[in-house]
Amino acid sequence: MSARIESTSDLGVLGTLREGLRLSPAIRRGFGVTLALAVVATLGRLVVPFTVQQATDRGLVGGVDIDLVVRMCGIAAGVLLVTSVASAWVNVRLFSATEAGLAQLRIRAFRHVHDLSVLTQNTERRGSLVSRVTSDVDTISMFVQWGGIMLILSTLQILGATVAMLFYSWQLTLVVWVVLAPMMVLAPRIQRMLNGAYGEVRARVGAMLAAISEAVVGAQTIRAYGSGQRVLRRIHTAIREHRDAGVRAQTLASAAFATGVLLAGTALAAVITVGTFLGLAGQISVGGLLAFIFLVQLFTGPVQAATEVLNEMQNAIAGWRRVISVVHTPVDIADPAEPRDLGPRGPASIALEHVHFAYPGGPPVLTDVTLDVPAGCRVAIVGETGSGKTTLARLVTRFADPVRGTVRINGVDVREAALEDLRERVVVVPQEGFLFTGTIASNVAYGRHPHPRERVEQAFAELGLLDWLATLPEGMDTDVGQRGESLSAGERQLVAIVRAYLANADVLVLDEATSAVDPATESRINRALTGLTEGRTSIAIAHRLSTAEAADMVVVVDAGRVVEVGSHAELVAAGGRYARLHASWVVQSG
């Protein structure tokens, strides 16, 4: 059964952090030194208030001592410079380490997506997979660059300030903790609410983009049917809902932050009031109280900063979970422990034995399919849309494994063969000849072992496509544009055919294009396909019956079962399902 790519992992906060760090080991590299430097840099913040206080008390009040003030300020300036350098150094170290770690995470997740089976890949939209390795990782970066270390420093500062406060007065320390306790108790709940609110914003962004994309992708239809107003209404609703969700989330976040501010202010007021009464009762000295007021600020500052960081952490955790869920998706088409050899190179035989297949949670797609394809045979699979012909072909390439039954190549169960070996021998020419940005030559040469230019040229010649190259402005070096958009669908397929030809497989699976192609290209495609399939076993998922006519063996699939097998002539003569399909096609193509 194939795995799904979940939209997010269900790891808890700590689990997510731990797993996130495990996947990005570079983040932790040299962290001890960075932390030590950060402590130095943070201490630098105390230099100015300390100097002001000392210089005022000892150098200004009760007789001016200029030398002392100058000396103290000189030392302070020196310390400031040192801590500033430390602070800059910390930042540089953090940036380098976290960026390296996030690059590791990106690459790891990217590779994993490619390692997943086709079925698993198809459980998630491509655009969403892209965001897992781009924007989702970006949301983590803010937190790991600043937030993580801030959280550690804040915690240290809170602990340090608490110890110092206890030294002056346990009663006042208790007051501070009591006042700030609600925040610490409520924090997890507030975090959950914020999490929900920002989750809603993300969902609204998705809905809004979907609505807007209709206006772009469906522009022709919308104009032709004059339904612009309706589409605009839907878009405006989506934009408004996104805006409202954003306002709600921000209001919540602002309220949470303001609560922190209020509690910090309350703590200060409480300390002054209670402290004065304690002083009157002789429990604390003036100096002690003044020092304590300063410590309260050292204490509440990081508490507030920490809540901000925790907000950021929520975002980071959400992003992390989405990336982790990709990395954790099991690879269900994996290499066997002890792979078997697929036999000598050359046209291979294919056999399907009582194969059953269903997509996860779906109805049966293939039922008890048994098929023998001798080496070198050209097979065409025909059947209506949804009959299971594409699935049948896919099983041969091991893009998916059957639920029951066995697929064999040269008598070897494909599950027992090394994937690398299998991919070397079985090559698919997909329906949409996907091209990479670049030239025709670079696209054809694309492969595990990039092919030299002469070999590419030779391939075009062998497939009889030199006349096509001659019609292109720069021949083989013609730019294909983004995703091959400068070429027509048929031309893209030509490139894919030459690419497959160079891959020199023993078995070819051809997913025939359904999109219309102009006749000149059509005949070139047919010519190239003939050259490609020469001397190999081939299975074509045929949408045009002309392909079936030309095949050695026709397999008719209906509702997941093989209903007819035979040559074109035999099946036409038999007067069954294939004969009917063929008759209607003949009428059509005149």
Partner: protein
């Protein structure tokens, strides 16, 4: 014009001015809250000092003799508490309203951009890639609003700067001047910072786009990658782009790493300078000790507004770029203004195209898409349009449907210039089934009626009739919720052929007087296609069909052969076969190809069992 004129400074001011003017109330509230916050923040510091001097110290040093009573102590606490409340409320107000203002500015950009998408002609759409238009409405609109998040903070705390500067100068002119110099210094550092940062950030954005491009391309090619076993090759390609992004990010990080401590250092050093100079001036008897303390305290307060202004300056370049890209869409023109004439009559429409010319590009790059195209289709007749890739067939379809206006010439429905027709008249008369069958993310019913169920004049019965004609009734019935099934990207996915059949039903349900089919059955199984075409034949309407197959051509009364935007010939299929060699080549390509194959098979002798 939506675009901002002038140099960087003028454009920045215009951007901010326009944003504020678009949401004056929200911005006023945000800036007001920010000012209140600034005042409250300074107030807390001031009050703390005063309370220490007048309450805490006398009470504790005076012991039982002091004249500070319990009431005074409690009052001091309550005053501080009141200020804390004020600070908290103003912080919340500023954040909420600032966020709202930025979101409103972004939503405004998005509405303007999408309105344009629905108003601009197909020729404009065809000239702009989908990805670009989506990012205009998404990330560009978003970044155009970035600067408005920190803006109210920065504008509000200007009050703080003025107050602090005035207080410092009042305490002592010399010390005040030292303090005030910090400001221009910070701005100067910021200018240097921006000069270093802008190119670095621009590079990060480019590298980020590159990483996204590689990922997009690679994931879309996932099947090819798997089929050719090139996972490692792709990993290397992605890793290369990722490491370029990493290096760009680290460069940005280093610039920030250096500048942040420098910005923090300036007020700190100024404070030390105030102490040293202050000590001299106290010694010389010019000022009192208290003035020095006040001046150094005010300096630490200045750090905040200086930071806020830094945020705004830091976000400005990105917002300007975003706004520029949004403006390019909003300023685009070429709307197809509808006329007012209705269209009378029923049955097939009389379609005329006269001397239609259409080109793209300017000057030397100008290319003709349609060149003096003339055609007439009599009511109820069918015209097939045939031509090779790039001949201008889809452009002709756009012009026929008035999805684009020609540069010259005219298209007439029943003798009326389509530009004079009202939108209702035009869309009521003509229906298009586009080459890329488009399905809305909506129910099957709404995809056909294109209206809310409550507002639709089309009954379910009519919908089913249309689905039957398009041979879509069987699969729709099999869908989990029938007509109520949500289809489209996030709904139930349909195959290419199913989408095409939905699109055909959408056209037929309107009983159009002119039906334009742009290769509308390419993904449908041959058997089903035959049945649909037969059904179309029985409709009482004028049909223009872009055809690739002989069967479709056979449906037509006349055929128009289009090449390089020009009409090569018009006539019956047999006539064209006889006198137009180019046409003959196109339509016989299938047949020729089949003959070739038969021959080859004869040579091979057949391996089939």
């Amino acid at each position: 014009m939506y675009a901002l004129p002038g140099g960087a400074v003028r454009r920045s001011l215009l951007l901010i001015g326009r944003g504020i003017r678009s949401e004056p109330r929200t911005f006023a509230l945000a800036i007001g809250s920010s000012a209140v916050w600034g005042a409250a923040f300074v107030g807390v510091g001031w009050l703390l000092g005063r309370l220490t001097d007048t309450v805490v110290v006398p009470a504790l040093t005076g012991g039982a003799d002091s004249d500070v009573g319990t009431g005074d102590v409690l009052r001091a606490g309550l005053l501080l508490l009141a200020l804390a409340v004020l600070t908290a409320v103003s912080v919340a107000g500023r954040r909420i309203w600032a966020g709202m203002a930025a979101l409103d500015v972004q939503a405004g950009h998005r509405r303007r951009v999408t309105e344009q998408y629905l108003r601009l002609p197909m020729s404009w759409h065809r000239a702009h890639p989908t990805g670009q238009l989506l990012s205009n409405a998404n990330s560009d609109a978003e970044s155009a609003g970035y600067v408005f998040v920190p803006l109210p903070f920065a504008l509000g705390v200007v009050v703080m700067i003025i107050g602090a500067a005035a207080a410092m100068l009042a305490a002592d002119v010399v010390l005040g001047l030292i303090g005030v110099t910090v400001l221009p210094l910070v701005l100067a550092v910021n200018a240097v910072y921006r000069r270093w940062m802008t190119p670095a950030v621009t590079r990060v954005q480019a590298e980020r786009a590159a990483v996204s491009d590689v990922a997009h391309e690679s994931f879309e090619a996932a099947t090819v990658v798997k089929s050719l076993g090139t996972e490692t090759l792709e990993e290397e390609r992605f890793a290369e782009a990722t490491h370029r992004l990493r290096r760009a990010n680290v460069t940005v990080g280093k610039v920030r790493s250096v500048f942040d401590p420098v910005i923090d250092l300036l007020p700190a050093l100024a404070t030390l300078a105030v102490l040293v100079v202050g000590a001299h001036r106290v010694a010389s008897g010019d000022i009192a000790t208290g003035d020095v303390v006040t001046a150094s305290y005010l300096l630490t307060i200045l750090t905040f507004p200086v930071r806020a202004i830094g945020f705004v300056l830091g976000d400005l370049p990105r917002s300007l770029v975003g706004h520029e890209r949004v403006a390019r869409v909003v300023d685009a023109r070429g709307y197809l203004e509808p006329g007012r004439l209705p269209l009378q009559g029923g049955g097939g429409l009389h379609l005329e195209v006269e001397h239609v010319e259409l080109g793209v590009g300017r000057g030397r790059d100008r290319r003709r898409l349609l060149d003096d195209v003339n055609l007439v289709v009599a009511p109820g007749r069918t015209l097939a349009v045939v031509g090779s890739t790039g001949a201008g067939k889809s452009t002709l379809v756009d012009v026929l449907m008035r999805l684009t206006d020609p540069d010259d010439g005219v298209v007439r429905y029943d003798g009326v210039d389509v530009r004079a027709l009202s939108d209702e008249a035009r869309t009521g008369a003509a229906a298009l089934v586009a080459q890329q069958a488009f399905v809305f993310e909506d129910t099957v019913r709404a995809n056909i009626t294109l209206a809310e169920p409550s507002e639709s004049p089309i009954t379910d019965e009519q919908v089913w009739d249309a689905l039957r004609l398009a041979r879509a009734d069987d699969f729709v019935r099999a869908l989990p919720d029938g007509l109520d099934t949500v289809v489209g990207e996030r709904g139930t996915s349909l195959s290419g052929g199913q989408r095409q059949r939905i699109a055909i039903a959408r056209a037929l349900v309107r009983r159009p007087r002119l039906l334009v089919l742009d290769d509308a059955t390419s993904a449908v199984d041959p058997e089903v296609e035959q049945a649909i075409l037969a059904n179309l034949r029985r409709q009482e309407c004028t049909v223009v069909v872009v055809a690739y197959r002989t069967a479709t051509i056979a449906l037509a009364d006349r055929v128009l052969h289009l090449e390089a935007g020009r009409v090569v010939d018009v006539g019956a299929h047999e006539e064209l076969l006889a006198r137009d060699p180019g046409y003959a080549r196109i339509v016989t390509a299938y047949a020729r190809d089949r003959a070739e194959r038969d021959e080859r098979d004869a040579d091979r002798g057949g391996v089939a069992r």
